[in-house]
Amino acid sequence: MRDFCTASGAANPCPEGCLSVGYTFTPPQCVERFYDYESALISGTVFPDLVIPKGRYGPKESFAV
């Protein structure tokens, strides 16, 4: 079987020593409540649990870039 990395014309996406790919673990979340239609459009989502505005994480959360 041809080794993909040495196949002619195949660009190797990663230079030597690049970081490995990260895997996320996202547990399936079942929803128990929805916003009403008006609130959903205002918040940009129908799921209240996704709306975590600044200050909701906790006093120490920082958004400094």
Partner: protein, 83 residues
Amino acid sequence: MNEEQTRLMLRLQQLGLTMDDLREYLDTHPDDSFAIERFNMSAQEYRQLLEQLAEDYGPLSWTCDNSESDNWLWAGQAFPWTY
């Protein structure tokens, strides 16, 4: 756009956002009956509203019903951005 039309258009947007968000959720949770029920409720009202807007103010989409008219209503009205 008069006040009633503006109100109906806003309601349509509200329903549209809810349906969009639920569609993405249902793609990964196809068995969630709670979400399906919510989607079906929204979709039904969305269709009714679309028909009502088409009847009262003209079609919002070229796929709206044109059977009541001998003219091609879609092209016969002002485009939404020319209000």
